[in-house]
Structures are given as C-alpha cells and as structure tokens.
C-alpha cells in the first residue's frame, strides 16, 4: 500500500469512527433567526439569543415583551438552530422549558408545526422572534442580527 493510499484509508477510517461516535455533523447548515419588523434594533450576543429562547430574557430593549416561537424538538430546522446557531442541544432547551412548565415558574415558547406557520406567526405578531431555514422575502420580517 502506498503512503497516499494509507493516508486516504486512515482518513476514511477516522471519518467512519467519527460518524459512529456521532461527532460528524450530518447537517451543517445554520438557521435564519427572524423577527417581526416591530422589534427594536439592538446589540445582541449569542448568550442573549440563548436566554431569549430559554425564556429567561423576556424583554426587548424598549421594554416590550418578546414573543418566542419554536418548532418541535425533532424538527430538522430546530436541530440546526439549536446546534449551529446557539451551540447547544435540543434536550437542554427541553429541560429548561419542562422545568418552567411543570413548576409554574415560567411559560415555555409556543411550539409551531411547520416553517410556513412560523413565517405566518412572525409576520403577524408584533415583537416576535423565531427561526426558519431561510428568511422569506417579506417586508414585515427582518433577519435578527447577533454577534
């Protein structure tokens, strides 16, 4: 076996090993976080986005309450969003939301069934935030900017 073949072989073996260990990202895309056009501009960090979706940061900088919408835990766009935008895992959000819901200490985000429903909700709900695979061309929906 030549050296280059051996290199390719070991690359393949490590790729298979990574895949088996779940280290290989199956889908690498990140989601577009979208907001209703009424939401105020501001400087937001990734920690802020995490806190908003964990329902811990409940207000926009202008004092209006943030309306948070999500998709189901196993929805591919939800998985992309949580993993690639926030560097978290769906079960971490599930834990936080369940704790609130079942102790009376908070309210979980409203879960929607599809991206179409998400677009409709964000379009029609002032101060709302959500995410889709690609931001639609719509004057009432803005891309949410964060560092």
């Amino acid at each position: 076996m030549r050296d280059s073949d051996r290199g390719k072989m070991s690359l393949r073996v490590s790729a298979i090993a990574c895949y088996c260990l779940g280290l290989w990202p199956l889908v690498a895309g990140s989601a577009d976080i979208i907001i209703n056009d009424s939401a105020p501009p501001g400087r937001f960090s990734r920690a802020d986005v995490r806190a908003i979706f964990a329902m811990r940061q409940r207000l926009w900088p202008n004092g209006e309450q943030i309306k948070v919408y999500t998709l189901a835990d196993d929805h591919p766009v939800h998985k992309d969003f949580v993993k690639n935008n926030l560097n978290m895992f769906p079960h971490q959000f599930r834990r936080a939301w369940d704790r609130m819901t079942y102790t009376g200490t908070g309210v979980a985000p409203i879960q929607l069934d599809s991206e179409q429903e998400m677009i409709k909700k964000i379009m029609n709900t002032p101060n709302s935030i959500g995410y889709v695979s690609k931001k639609p061309d719509n004057a009432k929906i803005r891309l949410f900017d964060y560092q």
Partner: protein
Amino acid sequence: MRKFVCSTISNGLLLLILSSLPGAGMAGYLPDEMQVHGFLAQSMFHTSDNNLFGQSDDGVSLGLTEVGLNTSYQPYDRLNFAIQGLYRRAGDIDRGSFRVDYGLADLTLLEHDAGRIGIRGGRVKIPLGLYNETRDVPFTHPTILLPQGNYFERSRSLLTSGDGGSFYAEQHTDYGDFIFKFNYVVPLGNNQEIRSIQLGPYALGEFSAKPTVVTQLSYELNGGEYVFAVSYADLELGYHPLAGDRFGAGTSFVRPLMISAQYNGEKLTLTAEYNYRHNVMKGYETLPDRRFATESWYIEGSYRFFPKWQATVRFDTIDGNTENRRGTGLEAIGLPSHAAYAQDWTIGLRWDINGSWMLRGEYHRVHGTLWLPQADNPDRLRTTQDWDLFGVQALFRF
C-alpha cells in the same frame, strides 16, 4: 385480577381524554397567553423481597399511577397565573388522591433585559436539589425512581410543595445564569410515613410542619450545559401524641443542605448530588434528646446512544445516622439494623418514542431498607437486607 382490569380500563379512558386535549390546544382554540400541558404515567414494579408501591414481592404491583394537568395564563406582561393538579396512586402510602400541586400568582417586580426579580404567592414548589420541584413529573428525570437516598418517596409529602410565598431573582450574564429562590412556606406533609421515619412504627400521634425556609442558588453555564446548585431547608416538625403513646410532645428539626452538579453534553449527562441533613430531636420524653446527621449522595451517568434512547447507570447511598451507620440497637424501636442504610445500584433504559410517548425500564440492586415505605411493609423486622427491584413505566404527555 379485577383490580388490575378496572385500573387498566380507567387509565385507558383517562388516556383517551387526555390525548384529545392537545388537539384542542394546538388547533388554536386557546389564545397564546394561555397554555395547557399534562401527562399520564403508569408504572409497574416487581421486587424479589420487600414491597414497594403495593404488593410487589413475588408479584407485580400496578401501584404507581400519576396524572398531571396544568395551565398558565398571563393577563399582563408582569403577572402570570399557573396551576397544576395531580392525581397520584402509590401503593399503600397514597391510595389514590388528587391534590393541587401548585397554584400561584407570579408578579414580576423588576425586569430588565438581563434578568428579573419577583414574588410568587399561593402554593409553590419547594426547590431542593435538581429534581425536587419536578419529582412528580416523570419525564423530567432519567429513571422511574429518583435516587431514593436523596429524594425519599416515603417522606415526599413533606417536601413536594408548600403554602406561602417565594422571592426569586434571575440574572443572566455572558458568564452564565444565576437563579436565586427564597421560599417561606408551610409544607403540606402530615402523614404516617414521616412519623415512622422519625419515631419508628410504634408511634401513634401526628406530626405537623411549622413554616419553613427553603432556599436555593443555582448557576447554569452555556444554557444548562453545566448546572451547579446549593439548596438548604430548615424544617420544624411538631409531634402531637395520642393517649397511650409511648412518646411525648416533642419537636424535630430537619435541616438538609444539598449540593448538586450536572453536566449536560450532547450524548452524555453526568449528575452528582450530595445531601447532608442535620437532625435534632427533643422533648419526646421516653427518647433522649439527640442530634445526628443523615448523609446521602449519588452519582449518575446517562448516555444517549441514539437520539431517542438513553441508558442510565447510578449508584445511590444513604446512611440514616452517620454515628451509627450499621444500625446498632434499632430493634428497640421496631426496626432491623439494615433500616439504617441503603445502597442502590441502578441501571435503566429510556425510549422517547416521539414527543408524546415514552417507555422505560430499570433494575435496582439494593443493599439495606432505609427508604422502604412503612405502609407497604408494616412489619419492618421481616424485611430483607438485599433485594432486587424491577420497574417499567409508560408515559403519555402533551
């Protein structure tokens, strides 16, 4: 057999009603300000010796049924109402009862974009360790039975919820989130299990709890990837003896201090909690006044080997009295020496079939009988030191 059939039918009916509810909720009948959630869980247990949740020894006990339904309503940004009803049937400790688990008004006093301060009044949950607040919500913990050394099934009524108020403060920073809770509540507990824990099986009177302080500080990093918490409670129980009782009108103080840590990775979750309970018993006349410590801890690892499958291994241990870990002389109050401790190795498997259904099973190898319920085992001297426990649970949620 008839009991089995009846219970299966009634649970089935309940399940049918519950499963029709989310349809109503999701179809948009409810405004966004209002949410309804709930669950139904049925567990079965078998033990090699000793009883848990009914007659499980040499048989199968259908003894643990849990149904929960909650709703919340937010009329204003700063005000939220929440209530949860629980139906629970657990062996001979609780032969089927409904209770309001929490029912509260939550008023935000001060809120800014990085945190808030507020108060909750009514019936509130008691924050002790990582799981006490959601101990009756099965899918929030990896195994059917929580580590019993730290989350007693038998004294549960004392610590599930209390009537009173709670002050809370939350602050989220780039370095993690801080959550502080300070509760001043009257615990609801007043049952024979607490009496048995305190005074053994021969006592006749009743315990009642005085207003109690329970407080917790928790710190979460990376949206809950790392969780640390310190919890403390100061419980005071007054004993009211009956005529012919061998004990006087004494008072017991139970002060648990709990330290918790958890790592939540993509596939691996590691949890450890340590509980040091300082106990004081005085004024029981026939018992000398005494102070002693109860110590318990557990370490647990869970691995999600497929997205919907999780395996868990845990070691859980408790010593009722750190100065008498072997239980010398317990026979005098009707308990075997192995009622002084319990060590429990658990393996469990959980399958989250979809967002609504979950199935899981577990096996426990237990050395010691400290946390066995008195009601399920009236004659403690006939319990067995080393025993096995098998459990399965089916759950539906919405």
